[in-house]
């Protein structure tokens, strides 16, 4: 097994950790950690799944991951803003309470 295989294994564990964190965490920011960790695991797989081109790593998956990183930070930034606003409105940074029938 080469180094890339090691990172693929790590990615699998990271994905599991992310899923665990997503289920267990109440706090929204922890859920965001978890999703970002899962995202990183998938980025590793994205690069690992494609073979090398002319001896060097394939540039296309790398460009895709670069795009993915920027999208991840955009989504995270918006999610954080949403979380802060939710906290200001309700005093909670969780999704635990269920009052969806509220017509405000």
């Amino acid at each position: 097994m080469d180094s890339l295989g090691l990172y693929v294994l790590a990615a699998a564990v990271l994905f599991g950790v992310g899923v665990y964190g997503l289920i267990v965490s109440e706090h929204l920011m922890r859920k965001l950690f978890a999703i970002n960790i899962m995202g990183n695991a998938i980025f590793i797989l994205l690069v690992a799944a494609s073979g090398p081109v002319e001896g060097a790593p394939d540039p296309v998956p790398q460009a895709l991951v670069l795009t993915g990183i920027v999208i991840a930070v955009s989504a995270t930034a918006f999610a954080l803003a949403l979380m802060v606003r939710l906290y200001q409105e309700t005093g909670q940074a969780t999704l635990s309470s269920r009052d969806e029938g509220d017509d405000g």
């Binding site: 999703i35 998956p61 918006f78 949403l82 939710l86 017509d103």
Partner: protein, 482 residues
């Protein structure tokens, strides 16, 4: 001509969104008009081109796939494009009143609205799996921004739940894309279709992508986020969410399934998808029956109606394609009308709790009329567009002697009738007028007119089905025989 028109269809609203950010204030109204109103005219060139050549390829930056990204316009994507342009422009009439461009709310609303519009156009055109991921993220972020634009706690919470699920769904989709690239070395859907063999890795990749998209399109049992998000968003936003946003991810599933995995034997999986659809129809309708808020009823009705789009997978014939595509169209129009009407009633009466809406038909006759017309199309009564769609579904099931699906479509209509007549019954058939006059707030007529135009179009779609149906049958996927 076509290339220029398609470029403007995507980039004009996007530029308008930029202009709306750059020049807030009095110019906003005109910027929005310039970004939206030329679009129906611009659609003419691609429409003529598709009628003439059936499929149009456009290699972006002059690089054909696999090197570059291609846009591909065929009858199905043309239909989606028309639907998006038409519905967005009509809902914008309503939004022009409920989010006035010269108000503070309007300045927060319109840039996101224009971006959502542009991104759905870009999504429908794209034939590249990763580009689809980027456009889908753009659609999701803009949509959630719009849900939360009024910052009500319920909407914020619904938006947050939607966002977390959507992010997870995107990751599953992205993993699938990565595996597909590893296997085929390309990201273009049509090149993939030529190269991919149904080994276990490609099948897993497809499954991951489809599960991700099923979450995004809120198909039962992954629908949990939808009713809260659609029911608590501002009126125009609920309308576009139900009419278009959930549909574009179902459209992507169709593309992957029928075009990407064209040669695969998917009979078992197709039946599974059909069963999900059946469960959605039954569960969504029953849940709509017990809701006590008008907008939540309409939202659960969306969960149910999305189920019909899943019936395409097991039936998979020309008739089924026509049925599903027409259902997409008529449900989009009808549901947008119903959400706008419900939003008008909500902002006029101050609540949309059903037991307090008795007698609202006298205060807001146009809105109740629009609601009823939309309902007629949803439950598939002739001569509406919904009737054409359901009739075609029945016919498709009949021809394949798929009696189970036949019974389901018929029963779905009855269930829809149950929850819609409950609504209309409470509103119109009441022993005494309980609506308090003082609570009644005037809202501009244009808001009701927009709802009515959409509702009338949903009915009118029943009369003008022939050209659309023949267009759809000209653009069938490779495996489907007429």
């Amino acid at each position: 001509m076509t290339a220029e028109a398609l470029a403007l269809i995507v980039f004009l609203p996007l530029l308008a969104a930029c202009a709306a950010v750059a020049f807030p204030g009095r110019w906003l109204g005109w910027i929005v008009r310039i970004g939206l109103l030329p679009l129906p005219v611009l659609m003419l060139a691609p429409t003529l081109a598709v009628l003439d050549q059936n499929v149009i390829h456009l290699a972006l930056a002059g690089h054909a796939s696999p090197l570059g990204i291609e846009w591909r316009l065929d009858p199905l994507s043309l239909l989606m494009l028309w639907l998006n342009v038409g519905i967005t422009v009509l809902i914008s009439l309503h939004a022009g009143v409920s989010f006035r461009p010269d108000s503070d709310r309007g300045q927060r609303f319109w840039p996101l609205w224009l971006i959502l519009f542009a991104s759905m156009n870009a999504l429908v055109l794209s034939a590249d799996l990763f580009n689809l991921y980027v456009t889908l993220e753009l659609v999701t972020l803009a949509a959630i921004g719009l849900i939360a634009v009024e910052s009500k706690p319920a909407a914020l919470r619904a938006g947050m739940r939607y966002l977390l699920l959507a992010l997870m769904a995107s990751l599953l989709y992205l993993l699938g894309v990565g595996l597909i690239y590893g296997q085929t070395g390309t990201l273009d859907l049509y090149l993939i279709a030529e190269q991919i063999e149904p080994g276990w890795l490609p099948v897993t990749a497809m499954a991951l992508m489809i599960v991700g998209l099923l979450i995004k399109s809120a198909v039962f049992p992954l629908h949990a986020w939808l009713p809260a998000a659609h029911g608590n968003a501002p009126g125009p936003v609920s309308a576009i969410l139900s009419a278009m946003v959930v549909k574009v991810s179902i459209y992507m599933i169709w593309r992957l399934w029928f075009w990407g995995a064209a040669g695969w034997d998917l009979a078992t999986a197709a039946n599974l998808m059909g069963l999900l659809g059946a469960a959605a129809i039954v569960y969504g309708s029953l849940a709509a029956l017990v809701q006590d808020r008008l907008k939540m009823i309409v939202a659960y009705s969306t969960v149910a109606q999305l189920g019909y789009l899943m019936l395409l997978f097991p039936l998979a014939s020309t008739l089924a394609f026509q049925a599903a595509s027409y259902h997409l169209l008529s449900h989009g129009l009808a549901k947008a009308a119903m959400f706008l009407a419900a939003a008008n009633i909500l902002s006029s009466v101050g609540t949309d709790r059903l037991q307090r809406l008795a007698g609202v038909d006298q205060r807001r006759p146009l809105d109740v009329f629009a609601l009823a017309l939309g309902g007629v199309s949803i439950l598939g009564l002739p001569p509406s567009g919904g009737f054409v769609a359901k009739w075609l579904f029945l016919e498709a099931a009949w021809h394949q002697q798929a009696w189970g699906w036949l019974v389901l479509v018929a029963a779905g209509g009855l269930l829809a009738a149950a929850y819609l007549f409950r609504v209309l019954g409470v509103i119109c058939l009441h022993p005494r007028k309980r609506l308090n006059r003082r609570q009644h707030r005037e809202i501009p007529n244009l808001a009701s007119v927009a709802a009515l135009i959409l509702a009338v179009s949903a009915i009118a779609a029943g009369f003008f089905s022939a050209p659309v149906l023949s267009l759809i049958s000209a653009g069938l996927p490779p495996g489907v025989t007429p």
